[in-house]
């Protein structure tokens, strides 16, 4: 089986700051991958290069057997790359339903009733149905994060990029989110999830990577990666720190 997403030799720097250096990554169909790493490690830039918001200085992004490096963001979305933003970016003047309808109509390419149906179903699934006719600008943080996920799902993705969707949420809210991501995974959608809330991540992913200084310093099953001395040093401030302290 061919891999779904393949990054090879991605380079990106902003002046002196290196956000990606010869990055390679392969994500299989339906695979759930978590990415951790300190602030400024290049996690969000990595997503931006996958989704098409950011052009790499060098390297190639291959999705679903096609080189998409030169393709604009909307085409990548239509090809099956759905994403969320770390700081939610709802269409504030539109209702929640309209927000999701944009993704269903433009991202999935559905028309009329089919698009509306998809939007309505995704809202129900993401626990936003009661807020469907509310203006997105009036949503709470949890609802905004859910809306990010809902929009990403409504585009009909084969790969969903989640950028810190659990950040800033309370513990019960995080658990609800983990459950939602579980449902998404169960449908065979590949997930790449950047998260600082490590326990949420560990519950959901098959594989964990640690990004630091624009390179992956660890890659493997979550328990192994979290025990890696290099990861502990970078991410938890040293091997002697207890994991619970993070």
């Amino acid at each position: 089986m061919s891999p779904l997403l393949q990054l090879s030799g991605l380079d990106k720097r902003f002046g002196q700051v290196v956000v990606a250096e010869a990055l390679d990554l392969t994500v299989g169909e339906g695979e759930a991958v978590g990415i951790v790493g300190p602030n400024g490690a290049g996690k969000s830039s990595l997503f931006a290069m996958v989704s098409g918001d950011l052009k790499p200085d060098a390297g190639r992004v291959t999705f679903d057997g096609e080189d998409v490096t030169a393709r604009p963001a909307h085409q990548r979305c239509r090809a099956g790359i759905g994403r969320t933003y770390q700081v939610p970016r709802p269409f504030e003047g539109m209702t929640v339903f309209e927000n999701v309808l944009v993704s269903a109509a433009q991202g999935s390419g559905l028309h009329g009733r089919a698009a509306q149906q998809q939007a309505a179903d995704v809202l129900a699934e993401c626990g936003l149905a009661a807020a469907a006719n509310q203006r997105a600008g009036s949503l709470s943080l949890l609802q905004r994060k859910r809306l990010e996920v809902a929009r990403g799902l409504a585009t009909g993705p084969k790969l969903l990029l989640l950028d810190e969707v659990a950040g800033g949420l309370t513990e019960p809210e995080v658990l609800e989110l983990v459950e939602l991501i579980g449902q998404v995974k169960a449908r065979g959608v590949a997930v790449v999830w950047i998260e600082h809330v490590v326990h949420a991540l560990v519950k959901s992913v098959d594989r964990l990577l640690c990004l630091a200084g624009g390179r992956f310093i660890a890659d493997g099953d979550p328990a192994t990666v979290l025990a890696d001395p290099q990861v502990l040093e970078l991410y938890f401030g040293g091997p002697e720190t207890e994991e619970g302290a993070a």
Binding site: M1, G28, E29, E31, V122, G156, R187
Partner: protein, 359 residues
């Protein structure tokens, strides 16, 4: 070091479609609320009453209403451009001028200026294609300044043509033989028809699939792109439509005044009017330019006798509006009440607001 790992899950990657709940009968969404149904009637009535105006009002009234319609058309076009496309242009006078000169050029060839009006709109959208290649390379402030410069370039090119009157302009042939009262009425009707068509066109555009995408672009371009909206295409479409509308408005202007003067028709003042009207009325709302044009027109009539105070008061109102009503008059109303005169929104119907297991 980066490693690649073979896929761990043998998933079936069907694109996500939703949970398995069976579709419910009946409409999923409602488009028009009570306010918008009422407003459709009121607007239709207004157009009918306005159409009858030449029979019941003095020519002076209808003539000044022509200015109102022209401003309404221009402002609606600028609202599409800036409000929905995020393109703050101060160079729409380029198309006002090109539209006026197109009518002139056709009139010189013996074509009736009224017939030339739609041709002026068409010509402007054709001119807008290469213009957009140039202007779209610029962003934000640079786009604003760039469009202004482009408008100046159009003016400088057009005054090279002696057949179009050169730098001093020329009078419009073809309507001299016509009875002034009839000509005035025809001009009024043409302006009214174009204004009504502009509003109807904007409404139909914004109500459809493209309109939903444009509204998303209005709110957040990056997020729109990430959700599958072809932002560049949307912007180009809006730019072409807006050029056509401004071209038609320019055509009305030359028919109304029976002459054209390049400095006046290519004046940046047109863009200033458009901006003022849209900012006051409410940017990014179809209702905004309509409300703004009424306010602007009323102010113009009220303050006409006050000389330079007119501009000072207008400026003060513009500043006050930008500070205290950042969404304009209509934006403030609709945010408080949720009223839409033009039903472009979608309301999800009741059963769908429940999760599948509770329906």
């Amino acid at each position: 070091m980066a490693r690649t790992t073979p896929p761990t899950t043998e998933g079936t990657t069907t694109p996500v479609a939703a949970s398995a709940a069976p579709p419910l009968p009946g409409a999923l969404v409602t488009r028009a609320g009570r306010a918008s149904k009422a407003s459709a009637g009121v607007l239709a009535l207004a157009v009918i009453v306005l159409a009858a105006l030449p029979y019941i009002a003095f020519a002076g009234t209808t003539s000044s209403m022509v200015t109102f319609f022209v401003l309404l058309i221009m402002a609606s076009m600028w609202n599409l451009l800036a409000g929905f496309g995020g393109m703050v242009s101060v160079g729409q006078q380029a198309f006002v001028g090109v539209g006026a000169y197109t009518v002139l050029a056709f009139a010189n060839m013996g074509i009736n200026p009224f017939v030339a009006l739609p041709l002026a709109a068409l010509t402007c959208s054709v001119f807008a294609i290469p213009t957009s290649w140039l202007a779209f390379r610029l962003r934000g402030d640079y786009f604003a300044v760039g469009t202004w410069v482009i408008a100046e370039v159009y003016r400088l090119i057009i005054i090279r043509f002696d057949s179009l009157g050169g730098p001093s302009g020329m009078s419009l042939p073809g309507l001299n033989g016509m009875d002034p009262v009839l000509r005035g009425a025809l001009t009024y009707w043409a302006a009214l028809a174009l204004a009504a068509l502009t509003i109807l066109g904007c409404y139909l555009l914004m109500r459809g699939r493209t309109g939903l995408a444009l509204t998303a672009v209005r709110d957040d371009e990056t997020a729109a792109r990430a959700n599958g909206v072809d932002v560049t295409w949307s912007k180009r479409l809006v730019y072409l439509v807006s050029a056509a509308g401004c071209g038609a408005a320019g055509g009305i202007l030359i028919i109304d005044s029976l002459s054209v003067q390049p400095n006046a028709i290519f004046s940046v003042q047109w863009s200033a009017y458009m901006i003022f009207i849209v900012i006051i009325g409410g940017i990014g709302y179809l209702e905004g330019p309509l409300l703004g044009a009424i306010v602007f027109y009323a102010l113009q009539q009220l303050l006409a006798g006050y000389g330079s105070w007119y501009m000072i008061i207008l400026g003060a109102i513009g500043v006050a509006g930008a500070i205290w009503l950042p969404r304009g008059l209509w934006g403030t109303v609709t945010n408080k009440t949720g009223i839409q005169l033009f039903p472009v929104g979608y309301r999800l119907n009741q059963p769908w607001t429940l999760p599948p297991n509770l329906r």
